[in-house]
Subunit: 430 residues, 2 copies
């Protein structure tokens, strides 16, 4: 609900949603398309979609002026029944929550999850010009609260949509753990035959410089024109505003707390770049889209932990965790090391049937336990390395490998076999 | 010891250490200065220092040819008594081990720690032209085995040398945990009045393309001409070979397992860049060198752990660690989050007197627990944030803060106060 003064101003100007407006506040004029009002936004705030694609929130007062510049050829009609246009591909949005589906309450500053994914679509009207969009909300949580059951439910929902006619699925997701979820879903969906794209936002939709709409649009363009099957993450690339990166879901990591280009492909280039006009530039080969049925293997062993090695790490303190877990992923130092005191604990855990997987806290580069004595001791203790796999991806994969094999040795074999582009066979050149 | 055939070839050619040689093997000729032979190197290997500053190891056979191109004006004299030149500053090297002080055994491929830091100096004869160099080996371990007592011993040794006339201290150190040690020593030495520089190598001294000599030389140049007090890390900058980065010891992280430019300043630019000619370009202000006595406060509380949050992290599994620790550093997701299940454990630990410090696994950017409900719940539970401090630096600082204050509240205050450039006051712009 807008404040009375603002409702009147909008009404007097004939300013409906979808109209291009000039809004003048304190001597400054903003030009943009009027977006739907969200119930959590302040009553004196209107949201304008700027030419750049960003939405900005503007606080108006009694002295502000609103002028209609033009009306949309086709009005934005929130909450109308979904229209299906022939010849367009069908993309299903499966909402999970997160900033991309959030609105700031300008009165308190708090961020609320959105109530409806259709709100999100209505904020990006141009997405309907390139695809038939269906949306459903699977859950609405901040991504730090995603758990293995959420991943499983999501993977099944994605497979169902793809097997029921969707040409692609886009998953709006909180950015905090989007990399973990993308990796987990990539292993669960295996050789998925169509694009599955995770997309987030670092600024909520009704904030100045929100990246929600532009990331969503870039993801949709890649779904429609990319002809590339797999699980991907699409977010801003670089600090500019014109290029979006398509990352392999098993190779991507959130590398900044707040920048719009926080997501980076690690150890590989992004799969592709998409510019604002929709032009796609691929950096690597991959699987084309096919009509194959999507099989989902969503079993996961939840007795897996992820630990960062640090100097002075005490095996006594961590013994219980090692002994109670079926899998331990360690992000070791440098080439993948732990201190010598930890090596007997690794051996004890391995002898107890635990799989200990070594990755590197350097994130970039590959592990190699054959260079130094510490590393060879770790190998002798039974630790395994996984080339240049990210610690977070190894965590998701180890859960999957333990649940989808019949023996510890088979699970180790799975860990060492690339399944979803998560590691490279290329030997390290020292 | 060289193999007999190789000793004879060197002797016949009159090729002493320090001579510029042309060495022809299998039709290819290498030009460089003959370096001392290390006992761990293969008997058929000679080490040449190339014009680029790199040392390469060349395996010779009976058919290889050695020709002396020129002799050094001043011969390299390994193991002679240290000479003191008037007018030059004094740099003390305090050896700790690591790749920079290591030699590969070409027979087995294993890397051995060096026996003597003077070996290292003798491999960089030009360092003696810019400073009087003294060297002692404090210990010789791989850095993954560094512990808090090693940090303490090292900080005291550095302070002793600086208070006994050294103008600077260079600490050759294994790269695996060099960032952690530099941060810990930075807090222990406080407002140290002279340069203390950690320097490592990603390739051992007798390997092709070793960066040991060039990193050491850049560190020495910064000591002599930088007029900047503090604790720094000097390593290659970028993939080229001409520029070296001087990092603040509390802001640096090993970000690649094997590249020579693995060390990156995070959230700040490097303090300075040093080119091969010794030209120093500063990126920020800092304290000039002074004659103040160096005070060392090396007390550390070792009951501190560093944990990475991950989706599904189980408070039951980690309860013991939280309750047994006086300090817990969590690298949370995004702005510093954990899942909602972990929040009661944070509260229980804080109520028990534990300090829980939140950093971000994104590494770049700053934490902010005021944006989302999860964050506010964490703050209400008693967790504290430390702006843009690295998780590893927070781990070292929390040990120091707990040992050098009289109350938990005072230690929290120390954590939130920049002491050694480890965090920025600037507010995040969302």
């Amino acid at each position: 609900m807008y404040a009375d003064f603002l409702s009147k101003k909008l009404s007097d100007a004939g300013a409906d949603e979808g109209c291009m407006l000039n809004v003048t506040v304190a001597g400054k004029t903003y030009k943009g398309v009027l977006m739907p009002h969200h119930e959590f936004s302040g009553q004196d705030i209107i949201i304008l979609k700027m030419k750049s694609g960003y939405n900005i929130g503007i606080r108006l007062d009694e002295s502000s002026q609103i002028e209609v510049v033009s009306r949309p050829v086709e009005r934005v009609k929130p909450e109308t029944a979904e229209e299906t246009k022939k010849g367009l591909k069908t993309i299903v949005l499966i909402g999970t929550g997160g900033t991309i589906a959030s609105y700031v309450d300008y009165r308190t500053g708090a961020v609320h999850p959105a109530l409806s994914t259709s709100d999100m679509i209505n904020a990006v009207p141009e997405i309907k010009e390139i695809a038939n969009i269906k949306a459903n909300v699977l859950f609405s949580i901040f991504s730090e609260n995603m758990t293995v059951p959420h991943w499983q439910q999501l993977a099944k929902a994605i497979a169902d949509e793809l097997n029921n006619g969707a040409d692609a699925v886009i998953v709006p997701h909180g950015t905090d753990t989007m990399g973990y979820t993308a990796a987990a879903v990539a292993f669960m969906l295996g050789d998925v035959s169509k694009p599955v794209i995770f997309v987030g936002a670092q600024r909520s939709s009704d904030r100045p410089s929100s990246d929600a709409s532009s990331n969503l649009m870039a993801a949709a363009r890649f779904c429609v024109n990319g002809n590339r099957a797999g699980v991907f993450v699409v977010m801003h690339d670089g600090s500019g505003d014109d290029v979006f990166a398509v990352h392999n879901g098993t190779r991507v990591r959130k590398m900044h707390t707040s920048r719009r280009d926080a997501f980076k492909s690690i150890n590989v280039p992004p799969v592709a770049l998409v510019d604002r006009a929709g032009k796609i530039t691929f950096n690597c080969d991959g699987r084309p889209v096919s009509k194959d049925r999507v099989e989902v293997r969503s079993d996961m062993c939840q007795d897996v932990v992820l630990l960062q090695f640090y100097p002075g790490m005490d095996p006594v303190l961590f013994r219980d965790i090692f002994m109670k877990s079926k899998g331990v992923v360690i992000s070791g130092s440098g080439l993948g090391h732990v201190n010598s005191n930890m090596v007997p604990l690794i051996k004890e855990a391995v002898d107890n049937g635990t799989i200990v997987v070594i990755t590197s806290q350097c994130l970039n580069g590959r592990t190699n336990l054959n260079v130094y004595n510490t590393g060879r001791d770790m190998l002798n203790a039974g630790a395994i390395t996984v080339m240049d796999m990210l610690p977070e991806t190894a965590y998701a994969k180890l859960m999957w490998a333990l649940a989808n094999t019949k023996s510890t040795e088979a699970a180790k074999g799975v860990m060492k076999t690339p399944l979803a582009g998560e590691m490279s066979d290329r030997r390290v050149m020292l």
